[in-house]
């Protein structure tokens, strides 16, 4: 699965994307965040509970409970500030 990061999340992680192989039990956005937090200190800091992080699954805004079972691309980013 391809993960994408934008804005300060990209900066904190030091990368705009990564490919990951997820274990079977990681099936939702919330579970993916838990899994990422355990990946290393950078991920733990970026996904710390005090940070407000939004998500898109296959380019659709999604919430923590959304399934990622058949997703090919999941993106994490701060609340949007365009316009």
């Amino acid at each position: 699965m391809k993960l994408l990061y934008f804005a300060w999340l990209r900066e904190k992680l030091g990368t705009s994307s990564e490919e990951v192989e997820l274990p079977e039990e990681v099936a939702t956005v919330a579970e993916l965040i838990d899994w990422l937090q355990a990946r290393g200190p950078r991920h733990a800091a970026a996904f710390a509970p005090e940070n407000v992080v939004r998500c898109a699954v296959d380019q659709e805004f999604s919430t923590a409970g959304a399934s990622i079972r058949h997703a090919s691309e999941v993106a994490f980013f701060p609340p949007v500030t365009g316009g």
Partner: protein, 151 residues
């Protein structure tokens, strides 16, 4: 069919308005967002850099335009959003809606920018005259404005 453009290059608002003035149009509502730099602010903005999510951005803007077209009788609908590094006073965004009558044109233009602010994947990064730089925080007022259009 809405006109959706996401690009670094500037736009010509006059040309966009003329393009919206098609057969059947009786009025055009539009909004142009520009880079703000408040001269009285403690830290003055010297540049604004806009990041976006290529692919999702175009889809999100098309969805917003389609929602406007379903709510009002529109002859034309345009959303142009720039990305990259912009200077104070430069254009950021153009939204425009043409309709047989003014109510729909004005309402649709307000709707387009209100929804765009909370439903399109753009992020603003400001650089200041003291050498600092920060990601712009989302505003609760923008969320309330978008919510006010909930049918």
């Amino acid at each position: 069919m809405a006109r959706i453009l996401v690009r670094e290059a500037d736009f010509d608002a006059g040309a966009e308005l003329r393009r919206l003035a098609g057969p059947g149009a009786g009025g055009i509502g539009s909004f142009i967002g520009i880079v703000r730099s408040d001269p009285s602010a403690e830290r003055r903005v010297t540049a604004l850099t806009l990041e976006h999510y290529p692919g999702m951005t175009e889809r999100a803007l098309a969805t917003i335009a389609a929602e406007a077209e379903s709510r009002w009788n529109l002859i034309g609908c345009t959303i142009i959003h720039r990305f990259g590094r912009l200077l104070p006073g430069e254009n950021i965004v153009f939204v425009g809606a043409a309709s047989p009558h003014r109510e729909a044109a004005l309402a649709a233009a307000a709707f387009l920018i209100d929804w765009l602010k909370t439903k399109a994947p753009f992020w603003k990064h400001e650089a200041y005259d003291d050498g600092g730089a920060e990601w712009v925080a989302a505003r609760a007022a923008d969320e309330r404005a978008a919510d006010s259009w909930r049918a």
